[in-house]
């Protein structure tokens, strides 16, 4: 039994024992603050005092007049009816009566948003990695003062929003080989669903490869001659967020290929600095080391349909 499994089994036994020994207490599912007709106040009522907030909201989807077609409760749609409203208006400085979202727990904030936005790509929010790690809607979005063109995000763009936590990825996209993320032609959500997915790493498709095939359809095959690791995961050879090696390779060719191939003759050959060509002495160079290296001959590395190409040549 592996060390990991051993540790896990021991922990599981302890947990199950503890759970069984402990009387269950139902946990209340938080819900959005309830609206009530009796206490409803208009946009204008709130805007009288909160003019800056109202102005900011006016430029967002929630502030447009068309929003009234979806909800006639104005600010109370999110902030709830404040049986406390009257008290708040009587005593606006009293924090007890201020219907501020940041007074709510993350779960309560999420419940407020999800009361309208639980459809579409939020289907799997409940149980998602972000939810599990206490990342809430308001961790990324701002209803009143968003900075982004789309998605009402706190940051200026979707990528910047993601990079506020995923800082390693921010460094990756500045590497020389990268997807056009920093140029703004694609963004994180083209591949990932931050609101939750059933797939690992919250990719939009059911597997990494299906995700990659959505843009790189020519590599989908199935081919007459396949390269097995390609079919299992594109990430075996590529690192999608950025690389210093050509074509987002994890390690540069030919060394990447030699991490799996050490056969007789050229797959096991040493390609060191001695066979790197120089302009002064070009004939010492090995054509298996420079430029496309292995891929100049094994050009169809993702798979080939050619009867003469069992070695994925053409």
């Amino acid at each position: 039994m592996s060390r990991v499994r051993l540790v896990t089994c021991a922990a599981a036994i302890l947990v199950v024992g503890w759970v069984l020994a402990r009387p269950e207490a139902a946990r209340a599912v938080p819900s959005a603050p309830a609206a009530s007709d009796a206490a409803m106040v208009s946009w204008g009522d709130c805007g009288d005092c909160h003019d800056v907030l109202a102005a900011e909201l006016g430029s967002t989807h929630h502030g447009r007049v068309g929003f009234a077609m979806k909800s006639d409760r104005g600010c109370e749609t999110c902030h709830g009816a404040v049986g406390t409203t009257a008290a708040h208006m009587d005593d606006p400085e009293n924090p007890e009566f201020q219907p501020r979202m940041d007074k709510l727990s993350t779960e309560q904030q999420n419940a407020t948003c999800l009361s309208c936005h639980e459809n579409g790509n939020r289907l799997f929010w409940h149980g998602s990695k972000h939810e599990g790690r206490d990342v809430g809607c308001l961790s990324c979005h701002s209803v009143h003062s968003s900075q982004s063109e789309d998605g009402q995000l706190q940051a200026a763009s979707q990528t910047e929003q993601c990079f506020s936590c995923h800082k390693d990825i921010r460094a990756d996209i500045w590497k020389t080989s990268h997807h056009p993320i920093r140029e703004g032609k694609i963004s994180c959500t083209d591949c990932h669903n931050p609101h939750g997915a059933q797939s690992p790493k919250m990719v939009n498709a059911v597997s990494v490869n299906e995700q990659c095939y959505s843009c790189h359809t020519e590599k989908r095959g199935p081919f007459l001659w396949d390269h097995a690791p390609v079919r299992e995961s594109c990430l075996n050879c590529h690192t999608p967020h950025g690389s210093n090696h050509l074509k987002l390779q994890r390690t540069s060719v030919p060394f990447l290929c030699q991490q799996c191939h050490s056969n007789t003759r050229h797959p096991g050959t040493l390609y060191d600095g001695f066979v790197v060509p120089t302009l002064e002495n070009p004939e010492t160079g090995s054509n298996r080391l420079f430029n496309r290296a292995c891929l100049d001959c094994h050009a169809a590395i993702h798979g080939s349909n050619h009867p003469s190409s069992p070695y994925l040549g053409h």
């Binding site: 077609m69 289907l123 001659w225 799996c260």
Partner: protein, 759 residues
């Protein structure tokens, strides 16, 4: 294929109908009620760009050429009845990287979204080849040139570098430059019906055309490596229909998705620079050289075949009992490809030989193939689900399970042999190998709210693989992860995790390499080699992010992450791979008139791998071993400063600097690979991708009035690359006719003036 195209056609017609209905509805609205429009903003820009080289890297994914562009246009309109909205957005209109978006919504009823996105991808400029493109998939060399080169080679007493270099250079010098690059033109149209209702529908149609060229290996042999621009003309069409039902406690999504890929240039044919007439010989794949000057006059490649994928999916979630929830997804994907096969070769001098009967046939004859079409098919069944509950005051438990079955139903096709490098018939019967696998995950997570602001979670996952036709038929990977998320107060936030991974494998079948041979040829891979994607592995993965918000105007963060993969049972191949990353960031916003940030990120990666040099037979001598230790460091720094010295003036400075410095240290042990090297020692590579990019942008905004503003900006970019794999490239190196397209160093100065209007 035909039936599936019918589905796409049906979906397309439905979309068109809906679109027409939507537009008709809009027209009525305009006529009856009118729209109120706001143009905010309209940004017109004039660029002046100065770049010191022709490097394609400068405009790899963008278009920054000198001249005017419509940088931005945002037009928003709403009907007087307040029940309709529309939005038109243009970015970089008219440029290679333009994007156009249109959104129309009849609130609560339907919405239409159309997006047209152009994405350039430039690979290299000013490449040089002897060939001229004479057809969609045809690269030719002028017959007299091809013949003259062949005649000179056949007449030469010695064929070596000096001879070939002298022979080729004058011809290359006379050729025109070739730029390599692609452009993706993506169109998406989406219709949402009853988006906010209990039952809603969505129809999405996509089309992408990819046109251009990219570098391609078109070699004729070990001593005749050629690179050519691969002509690209792809069309990918997609359709998605999705229905959704959202109830009080449950929701369900279901849909059908189709994707059709069509390659309008399915075959590439190109002339051999060194042969004008077909010939064959036992060593022709080594030509041109002292051992042979034979070969094919033309090469040909089967480019990416047309293919399609059709998928059905059902996803759902529910809450049940008092506090349980469950999510699930079931997807079935069918991927098919049935392209007609090409003949073994275009070299008319090659005769094929049936390995069983000894009968010969013309290898250029497509009727000699055992089958005429690829007829491949893969069926993927993906099932996944998770469920969880909360118990006690502070605990929650989640279970997850995934099943992914990649079932390859393609037939095993037996070929009597193959043509090696368009040059020689190899009487080695081969059979196609339909790789297949099943991956299963099973796990659970226990989470504990230690306090109202601190959560601790322990997660376990078991990942099992079962494969067909690979070295490892079965493996189990256990991982356990401990996560901590805490925000003890408004000033501090801590997120940390540590994961331990252990992958154990079953028997390693070294004979797997023979699965594609009809008759055993003998194993020639090192038996101690373990392919890292399947090999036994131990990993440690950790991540820490600490954020401080000591005051409203300050924030500081530190991050640390790393992963170490060890392959304890591998004697050759990848043995270890470790990455460590550190970062810090500070931002300061003293008031509405100023903000500042600075961040730094350092990363170190160490990779170690081992191989053994063999000749014609497999070496068993440890003296023939050699190793590489890669050391890569990546540093990145960035700063930004925004200020508002006066009410109408704002300036903004941003800088990014990234630097990569890598080295490869080689070690030999006195055996074959050491021979010929100075002092019998391997030579290290110091420039294992040394790259530096500095990007400084300075921008000044002047709000002239409420409706008019001006922006002046300047950007400086400096990119340098020193790469072992690109250094010293020259036509004609021994056995290489390279494109040598420029994607290297550049220094660029870009000046922009923008005028911004709002109406």
């Amino acid at each position: 294929m035909r039936a599936n195209k019918a589905i796409t056609g049906l979906l397309g017609c439905s979309a068109l109908l809906c679109f027409v209905m939507g537009v008709a509805g809009t027209g009525a609205a305009v006529a009856d009620e009118g729209f109120t429009f706001h143009l905010d903003p309209l940004v017109i820009e004039n660029l002046y760009t100065d770049v010191d080289t022709e490097s394609a890297k400068f405009e790899e994914y963008r278009d920054l050429g000198t001249g005017f562009r419509l940088r931005q246009l945002d037009l928003f309109g709403e009907s007087e009845a307040l029940d309709r909205e529309m939005e038109l957005k243009l970015r970089n209109a008219g440029r290679d990287d333009a994007r156009y978006m249109f959104d129309y919504e009849r609130i609560g009823k339907y919405g239409l979204y159309v997006d047209y996105n152009k994405i350039p991808h430039r690979f290299g400029n000013d490449g040089r080849i002897l060939h001229v493109r004479t057809g969609p998939g045809r690269w030719e060399i002028a017959d007299p040139v091809q013949q003259a080169i062949q005649d000179d080679i056949l007449a030469a007493p010695t064929v070596d570098f000096a001879f070939l270099d002298g022979l080729i250079q004058p011809y290359l010098a006379a050729e025109a430059d070739v730029d390599l690059g692609l452009r993706r033109d993506r169109t998406l149209a989406r219709i949402d019906l009853a988006k906010d209702r209990t039952v809603s529908w969505m129809l999405e149609l996509t089309h992408e055309n990819r046109v251009g060229t990219r570098p391609f290996g078109a070699s004729f042999g070990f001593n005749n490596v050629e690179e050519l621009p691969e002509p690209i003309d792809y069309d990918t069409s997609g359709a998605l229909v999705r229905g959704e039902w959202v109830g009080q406690k449950s929701a369900l999504q279901f849909g059908l998705r189709q994707s059709i890929f069509e390659n309008n240039i399915s075959t590439l044919v190109w002339d051999n620079a060194f042969r004008a007439t077909d010939s064959s010989g036992g060593s022709a794949y080594l030509a041109p050289s002292g051992s042979s000057r034979d070969g094919s006059a033309t090469g040909f490649a089967d480019l990416a075949p047309d293919n399609e994928a059709l998928s059905f999916f059902v996803s759902g979630r529910t809450r049940f009992a008092s506090n349980w929830w469950a999510n699930g997804n079931a997807s079935y994907i069918q991927m098919t490809q049935d392209e007609p096969l090409l003949p073994y070769t275009l070299n008319s001098s090659i005769e094929g030989v049936d390995h069983e009967t000894g009968a010969t046939f013309q290898a250029t004859d497509v009727t000699a193939l055992p089958v005429r079409n690829a007829d491949t098919q893969v069926d993927v069944l993906s099932l996944s689900g998770d469920a969880g509950t909360a118990f006690g005051e502070d605990w929650s438990l989640t279970f997850h399970a995934r099943y992914y079955d990649y079932s390859n139903d393609s037939p095993r096709i037996e070929f009597p042999g193959y043509v090696r490098y368009h040059a020689v018939w190899e009487e080695i019967a081969r059979v196609t190998v339909p790789y297949a696998y099943t991956k299963q995950n099973l796990g659970a997570e226990l989470a504990w709210d230690v306090t109202d602001t601190t959560n601790l979670a322990l997660e376990y996952d078991l990942e099992s693989w079962d494969r067909e036709f690979r070295e490892i038929e079965s493996s189990d990977q256990d991982s356990v992860k401990l996560s901590l998320d805490s925000r003890p107060n408004q000033q501090v936030s801590v997120r940390a995790s540590y994961e331990l991974v252990d992958r154990s494998i079953g028997e390693y079948l070294t004979e797997a390499q023979e699965f594609s041979f009809v008759e055993p040829e003998g194993i020639n891979n090192q038996p101690g080699l373990r392919k890292y994607d399947e090999a036994a592995k131990d990993s440690d993965i950790y991540s820490v992010l600490v954020q401080f918000f000591p005051a409203d105007v300050w924030s500081v963060s530190f991050n640390l992450s790393g992963q170490k993969d060890d392959y304890p049972e591998s004697e050759f191949g990848l043995l270890s791979d470790e990455v460590k990353q550190y970062g810090a960031e500070v931002s300061f916003t003293p008031g509405a008139r100023s903000s500042f940030y600075l961040f730094g990120h350092l990363a170190e990666r160490d990779v170690f791998q081992k191989a053994r040099q063999s000749g014609g037979s497999l070496s068993t001598s440890p003296a023939d071993d050699w190793t590489i230790a890669f050391d890569e460091s990546n540093d990145m720094w960035g700063l930004g400063w925004t200020g508002r010295p006066a009410e109408d003036w704002t300036f903004d400075v941003t800088t990014r600097w990234s630097k990569s410095d890598g080295g490869a240290d080689f070690t030999t042990f006195g055996g074959t690979p050491s021979s010929g090297r100075p002092n019998g020692q391997a030579v290290d590579i110091d420039n294992y991708e040394d790259i530096e990019l500095l990007d400084v942008t300075f921008k000044v905004d002047w709000a002239v009035s409420e409706r008019f503003g001006a922006t002046f900006w300047y950007a400086y970019e400096d990119y340098t690359i020193d790469s072992f794999i690109l250094q010293g490239l020259r036509n004609y190196l021994p056995g290489a006719l390279l494109l040598n397209a420029d994607n290297g160093d550049y220094t660029a100065n870009i000046f922009g003036v923008q005028m911004k209007f709002s109406f």
